[in-house]
Amino acid sequence: MESKTKIKFSALLLGLFFSLPVVALDGDAAAGKASSAICMACHQADGNGMNIPGGESWPRLAGMDANYIYKQLVEFKSGKRVNASMAPFAMMLNDQQMKDLAVYYSQQSAGKAAGGGTDTELLAYGEKLVTQGDWDRYIVPCASCHGPGNKGAGAHFPGIAGQHAGYLESQLIAWQEGKRDNDPQHLMLAIAERMNDRDIKAVAAWLSTQPAH
């Protein structure tokens, strides 16, 4: 049992274990903290944002992936992601400040999100849709992309567990209405546009009750 050019067992294994790139963002948390003063009015001093029933909620940034935060800031500035409240603040930032802020917020710890409500039937439906999806309507389970426990997976799939319900809801609706269109390969759009109003309310409510970390 001889073969000529054997690929070494260990060599292939090594290739695998070192191939998971954790791309560190070149930002400085201390500098980010200094720039964050202008963000606090909405995202709060601890970066945990606020759920605002009936109004525009401010998302939690604390503990989100740094690369994801950075991407969003770049896209608010370039106009690829559009929001009237947020855009002016992104416009003020240069590239380094965005990186610094992204690293700063990624290192803050996430608190508890709000907006889940007490409708146990809705929450139970939300849990089912998030964890199992609804394949008959091709709504893929959220965790298939957003990672175990929906706590995020790499730079492209943000954590959505422990985010404010009002914000989650607003984003899903924004995708449906064509107002948010900055997701890579429209991976999120394809799912969001298959959801109905009850689906959206339910997943947002349940996800907000789940731990972010």
């Binding site: 067992f9 292939l12 290739g15 449906q176």
Partner: protein, 330 residues
């Protein structure tokens, strides 16, 4: 015995257009363009786990089927014992093994026992499942008659509820069908398409993605993917899978040609050795050429490299699981 008719397909694929919200009533940008059933095809809509709960089956049987479902969705719980790569059954049998055009597994529950060309003997449902353990999971099947095997077969048979056994019907959505490639599949085009459409999840080097050490997006090649004997290493099967299932959430968006191009690219990469390895890749290819490898790139030279010419069996420390064995009756 009447099999559910085409009209019931509505429940599975077409219902989407009816149930989306007012907002989304405008044209969907990513409609699910699954093919319509062809004349003479039989549509089976498998029951769900909710249907199971609502049924009057014995509580102990419900527990068994639930355990089978759990193993099917999270097969990683058998890692190191039966599973030696980053796959779950649902990694290829999408949507709980129920989805059309993702080799819905209920077909085997009524088609088996049957003669299989791949191993040249009569297999029952357990052995069919064992095949996916040995090749797709690069592993070792749970023992026949074991608790896990019984749970898995029970789940498969539950999904086949209502279908007559031993009927060889032309089922809608079975396997991973695809038309022939309009032109010769191209590695270079496939590479470009893979980078643009797939690498965000499966990574540039095919290793997929792990989150805190647990498999998240499965590996499409390399040590922790399926091995060279797996059904999906056949070009037409892989191309069919891609066309109807990938990128995740966007079925039927890659054209037939694009699906074949990507399949050519993926099938030109290395993966764990074929469990039926004779010690020589060309010899192994020749031995299983007609029944299998005429459809794979195993033992062919691609990009200046003889594929499968190695003794890397992945994470496992055996070559072929000992419970795969032929039989005949004279």
């Amino acid at each position: 015995m009447k099999i559910k008719s085409i009209a019931l397909l509505a429940g599975l694929v077409l219902a989407m257009s009816l149930s989306t919200s007012a907002l989304a009533k405008q044209e969907l940008r990513f409609p699910i363009n699954m093919p319509e059933p062809k004349e003479g095809q039989v549509v089976h809509v498998p029951p769900t786990m909710d249907d199971l709960e609502a049924s009057n089956l014995h509580p102990e049987l419900k527990r068994t089927i639930r355990r089978g479902y759990d193993l099917f969705m999270n097969t990683q719980q058998l890692r190191g014992e039966n599973v030696f790569n980053d796959m779950n059954c649902k990694s290829c049998h999408m949507g709980e093994g129920r989805l059309p055009f993702a080799a819905p597994v209920w077909r085997a529950a009524i088609a088996m026992p049957n003669f299989r060309g791949k191993n040249q003997h009569v297999n029952n449902l357990e052995e069919r499942i064992a095949g996916c353990f040995a090749f797709s999971m690069n592993g070792k099947p749970p023992a026949y008659g074991s608790d896990d095997m019984i749970a898995l077969t029970s789940y498969h048979q539950w999904l086949a509820k209502g279908l007559p056994i031993f009927e060889r019907k032309n089922f809608y959505g079975a396997g991973y069908p695809i038309e022939k490639a309009p032109s010769t599949p191209s590695y270079d085009r496939g590479k470009k398409l893979y980078t643009e459409n797939c690498a965000i999840c499966h990574s540039d080097d095919g290793s997929g993605m792990r989150v805190d050490g647990t498999p998240h997006f499965p590996a499409v090649w390399g040590d922790l993917s399926y091995n060279w004997g797996a059904g999906i290493s056949r070009m037409h099967t892989l191309a069919g899978f891609i066309r109807s299932n990938m990128p995740l959430g966007q079925p039927m968006t890659m054209s037939v040609q694009e699906s074949w191009d990507i399949a050519e690219y993926i099938d030109s990469q290395e993966r764990p050795q074929e469990p039926r390895f004779t010690g020589d890749v060309k010899d192994t290819r020749a031995k299983y050429l007609d029944t299998f490898h005429k459809h794979t790139n195993y033992g062919l030279e691609k990009q200046g490299r003889l594929l499968g010419d190695h003794e890397n069996f992945g994470e496992k420390d055996f070559v072929k699981p000992d419970n795969l064995r032929p039989r005949t009756f004279k």
